[in-house]
């Protein structure tokens, strides 16, 4: 599976820079960033959902495997949230002349960053593994409840500079042809990449845990 994902990503890169045209109403080549920025933001959100799910599973089953999976999801979500923030800032500089505009969606992604970081800081502040798992799981579930306010309510209520080609009040995806194809391909590629990285790190965590048990 990993070979398929790597080849797919390479194809998406080629399509993003060569095959796909630029979109109208964007400055220069800046629209191409949508092929990276949006999938990264999607993965950051997916990782968040995954961490919430495994946190809930841990609270129900007290199985530490779920705690480890939640931790891995948060770590990788942090990486993708950071990448989404950086790519978004680059786009903002080109389009609106400033790296940061305090746009509601920019705020949403930074809040996700803060939640991820807070989760990891909380874990580092608790020594007992069972207590750590409990507290981290509760925090993740609590954050899950607060997130709809960032993701759905605030960006809808307040004016945003963000292009709304994907998530908009009209309920239409405003991309066509090669741009849409490249975008969907990139979305699939990043999802595959995240799946690979996630499974790899989960296996690594299990090995480290098993070594700790037997040591």
């Amino acid at each position: 599976m990993s070979i398929v994902v790597y080849v797919w990503i390479l194809l998406c890169l080629a399509a993003a820079f060569v095959w796909s045209p630029t979109a109208a109403h964007f400055i220069g080549q800046s629209s191409r960033i949508v092929f990276f920025h949006v999938p990264m933001a999607w993965i950051a959100t997916l990782a968040f959902l995954l961490s919430g799910w495994h946190s809930l599973r841990y609270l129900n089953t007290r199985n530490l495997t779920h705690d480890r999976k939640a931790k891995v999801a948060v770590r990788q979500g942090l990486l993708f949230a950071l990448l989404a923030t950086v790519t978004g800032s680059i786009f903002a500089k080109v389009m609106w002349g400033a790296f940061w505009n305090w746009d509601p969606r920019e705020i949403s992604i930074t809040m996700l960053l803060f939640i991820y970081a807070a989760y990891l800081v909380l874990r580092s502040a608790v020594d007992d593994p069972v207590r750590r798992a409990h507290l981290a799981a509760v925090y993740a579930c609590f954050a899950f409840v607060a997130m709809p306010f960032f993701v759905f309510i605030i960006p809808r209520v307040y004016f945003s500079l963000h292009p709304d080609t994907l998530l908009n009040a009209r309920g239409k995806i405003e991309m066509q042809g090669r741009i849409l194809a490249t975008f969907l391909g990139s979305l699939a590629g990043f999802t595959g990449l995240f799946t690979l990285l996630y499974r790899l790190e989960c296996r690594l965590e299990e090995i480290l845990y098993a070594e700790g048990e037997s040591a």
Binding site: D128, P129, G212, A215
Partner: protein, 205 residues
């Protein structure tokens, strides 16, 4: 008959295993003494029996006749006095006792605090805040807080620490009174308390 049954209890702190496959039981009318060297897990065992810690394996069941006590009934029916558990420093002796009484008994608490404080020779100190009491007085107060609601099951962890002769007499009386209601599990290495035991369970390292 009120009984406490613990089956196959195992517990570890991280990689350090405290005990494994501990099985014990105690019935109404008897005092079970839990002995063991320092670090053998006596206090941890008592916390597991009280439901404060979840064991890796095994379970603890409290019976009141045919009925099994759930968490809510256990909160009303269990009394515990342990070294690591404190009273409220900013409340007076009387306020501490009334607080724990009202939590479990609500309006039925009445004036149970006064006779208990008098028995423990603490009535004259009832308006002193807990942190100003001597260690022996605090220990007596902790014992009273554990029994104010007349629990069915009593767990005592080193209850004689800091107690003088009169304090040990009080402890002995409380244990004898409680034995009529239900079992007492007493964790101790104090020879003064060995005489209370009807049976002994040794926790080994």
């Amino acid at each position: 008959m009120r009984t406490l049954d613990a089956q196959g209890l195992s517990y570890a702190f991280g990689r350090h295993r405290l005990f494994a496959d501990v099985t014990l039981s105690a019935a109404g009318g008897e005092v079970l003494l839990v002995r063991g060297p320092n670090g053998s897990g006596k206090s941890t065992l008592l916390k597991i029996l009280a439901g404060l810690l979840i064991p890796e394996k095994g379970k603890v069941v409290y019976h009141d006749g045919e009925a099994v006590l759930d968490a809510a009934r256990l909160r009303r029916g269990l009394g515990m006095c342990a070294v690591e558990q404190n009273l409220y420093d900013d409340l007076t002796a009387l306020e501490n006792l009334q607080f724990f009484g009202r939590l479990r008994l609500g309006a039925d608490c009445g004036d149970r605090a006064r006779p208990l404080l008098e028995r423990a020779a603490l009535w004259d100190h009832r308006h002193k805040i807990a942190k100003s009491l001597s260690s022996g007085m605090r220990q007596k107060l902790k014992l009273l807080a554990a029994v104010i609601h007349e629990p069915l099951f009593l767990l005592l962890d080193e209850p004689g620490s800091n107690l003088d002769g009169a304090g040990m007499e009080l402890l002995h009386t409380l244990i004898l009174e409680h034995k009529r209601r239900g079992p007492v599990v007493l964790a101790s290495n104090d020879p003064r308390e060995f005489g209370y035991a009807d049976r002994v369970h040794t926790v080994a390292l």
